[in-house]
């Protein structure tokens, strides 16, 4: 059952609980769609291998990194690295463009900013 502090008046509180428990939780009208979008971003960061890959790509600055140089430091197989990069890409954290045989990956700073801001 819901409750409130003695100093707060709210609706939807039983008489028995009045003065017993919580300040009412802020409405903070939480957009269901935004939450899902943010969660997808954080899900992409929720793996140590992906964090490592992202860090490697980010550390190249604007130059970007090609997959061939990410495989060995990641300690994972080439298909696994490709998979993780796809996850990062679909989460909007990196972009990829193909130049010749190589695929170049760049970070998307705006997306990182967005996630960082959400933790404010």
């Amino acid at each position: 059952m819901t409750a409130t502090t003695t100093t707060t008046t709210t609706t939807k509180r039983t008489l028995a609980a009045l003065g017993a428990c919580c300040t009412p939780v802020g409405s903070a009208e939480f957009d269901e769609h935004d939450a899902a979008e943010l969660a997808k971003g954080f899900a992409a960061l929720a793996d140590p291998v992906r964090l490592h890959l992202l860090s490697l790509v980010a550390s190249t600055g604007t130059s970007g990194a090609c997959v061939c140089d990410l495989i060995e430091p990641s300690g994972r197989s080439q298909p696994t690295v490709s998979h993780h990069l796809k996850v990062l890409r679909e989460a909007g954290l990196v972009t990829s463009d193909k130049r010749g045989t190589w695929a170049w990956y760049h970070v998307v700073p705006g997306r990182l900013d967005q996630l960082r801001t959400a933790l404010r």
Copy 2:
């Protein structure tokens, strides 16, 4: 095979690939342990329900929120809410203390700061 730009000299590059591909990826000597720790934090944020719960708890400021007031806005069952709060707690994002029958949850700003900082 690994590659490099024409302007960069590195070890571990084949002659054939020299001047063909990437700037060498920054060492950014990535601590395996830190990555796992960060990943755990982001994993806790990788669910819309948990983001919502965290937002609700955070919106109470220093007062904190008791579980009873989180269940209904979350749209999930009480055990599910309890489970998600446990995940958030074990990720270091919230603390819980029991006062009487009620359990009060507070955010841990330092942990949020740490994750925010990790996003550069």
